[in-house]
Symmetry: C2
DNA sequence: CGAGGTCTTGACCTCCCTCAAGCCTTGTGG
DNA sequence: CCACAAGGCTTGAGGGAGGTCAAGACCTCG
């Protein structure tokens, strides 16, 4: 397409961990330059994913981990009587599929909430590579234990906090993660519905909506549909009773 | 002590993973005989722990994993405003400390709810051993991902289920774990208080107590203080709406 | 045997859920 | 570009599950 010489777009498209802007957040963290090149060879870069599509489904057999490059994902589990529980929201630089690493089957479903791209990391190759690069194994440990700690923070939230505390924790957490990726910490667009937020926080969508309205009435945030502006982050953090949820 | 030749108690006391009755549940799962011997050499066996004592505290630097041999433990995290959240109860054959594997610091506190014994697994030695035994690394992955899946099951429980469903899930889960260890699935002694159960399940102790009473009135269980008898496990399972919590 | 922790039960209240109605946003097709 | 449909959001009213407070019973262990 167009008259641009092919070699240029090819170079552009052949992205790699070495040049990826997410390398400080993603799997490559702490790897030496030559190790990064090895990792690169194993990874299938820039797989596009359409909004609404599943990266994997709960119960599917596990082959690959996925690193989010761009876009926004939710992970969910389903109780057999049909209730959906959102277990997490995931953005650029985060790794999906760690819960399947042991069992051979995915335990949750990962759905794209907007169009995006992921890198696919075939696990068998990653596994053999980690035998040459011990720090890779240790990094997996780190990622998995971080996930455990994150989930346990959610247990604290679901077990102890009231609706507004939960929503405040959610907003502050999102804000910090956007900021770590170079986006604004104060204004962002929610990719998920009120119902998905509610599922994640153990609340009904009406309760989420009411809490948003109340925060707005109190001058803490500005809500315009899915567009959120944090007007007083300090006060929001004050609402948490200093419970902090990691990641 | 006494007149018994010393060699006999010594043999008895020098326990090992090879002879341990928990080897089908604990870390050794799936290791070859010679690998088991290597693992044995790394482990400090039979460390006694008194009731009420902490195996480790949240924030302490991480050196060892602990495998429960006998006894019963709870793990907790503390929000800074003092609220305690119980994140799990742990019995023979279960591994404690996995959440610290990456971060270098323990994320939770582990407290003995009765006198018991643990095996201490110094992590640096385990780490270097796992470079000789690849299946050991994979087994760590498995244990950690199982922990993630278990926590996510708890998210479902805390996010979606009502008080009696939660308690039923708790009792059924305990029953299955006791049974897997060769104890009765129908009658057992709760080592934790109503308050600790409540913290784990996101309920107040009065609510736990009332739910116990109601189950008893309905003929599902018999309650005598901490002694519980399950009279109708099928009905209890029916209460769950087929949400099942792993481990 | 007494003290302190633990458990049960009752009465009341509150926070969140449920149900319902209407509005807004987004996307699609004419 | 507009019309319309469908999903998503807000807001209100009412009800109920579980929290709070309190009193007394029951272990358990020094």
């Amino acid at each position: 397409m167009s008259g641009i010489p092919e070699v240029i777009p090819l170079v552009e498209l052949r992205s790699s961990c070495v040049t990826c802007s997410l390398r400080e957040l993603c799997l490559p963290i702490g790897l030496a330059a030559d190790e990064l090149v090895q990792l690169d060879e194993v990874i299938r870069q820039r797989v596009p994913v359409k909004r609404g599509k599943a990266l994997f489904l709960a119960g599917q057999s596990f082959h690959s981990l996925f690193a989010v490059r761009t876009g926004f994902f939710k992970t969910t589990i389903l109780s057999e009587d049909g209730r959906e529980q959102v277990t997490g929201f995931h953005m650029a630089g985060e790794l999906l599929g760690l819960d399947a690493l042991g069992g051979g089957k995915h335990a949750c479903t990962a759905i794209a909430l907007e169009d995006g791209e992921v890198c696919e990391l075939p696990f068998t190759q990653l596994d053999s590579l980690s035998r040459q690069i011990p720090s890779l194994t240790r990094h997996f440990y780190k990622l998995m234990s971080r996930e455990i700690v994150r989930d346990q923070g959610m247990l604290l939230l679901l077990g102890n906090m009231r609706a507004e505390e939960r929503l405040a924790a959610f907003l502050v957490n999102l804000s910090q993660r956007f900021e770590a990726r170079g986006f604004s910490a104060k204004g962002f667009h929610l990719r998920m519905t009120r119902e998905e937020i509610g599922s994640y926080l153990g609340l009904k969508l009406e309760t989420v909506s009411r809490a948003f309205s109340r925060f707005q009435a109190d001058g803490l945030i500005k809500v315009h549909g899915k567009q959120i502006t944090l007007l007083n982050i300090t006060a929001l953090k004050g609402l948490l009773g200093t419970c902090h949820v990691a990641q």
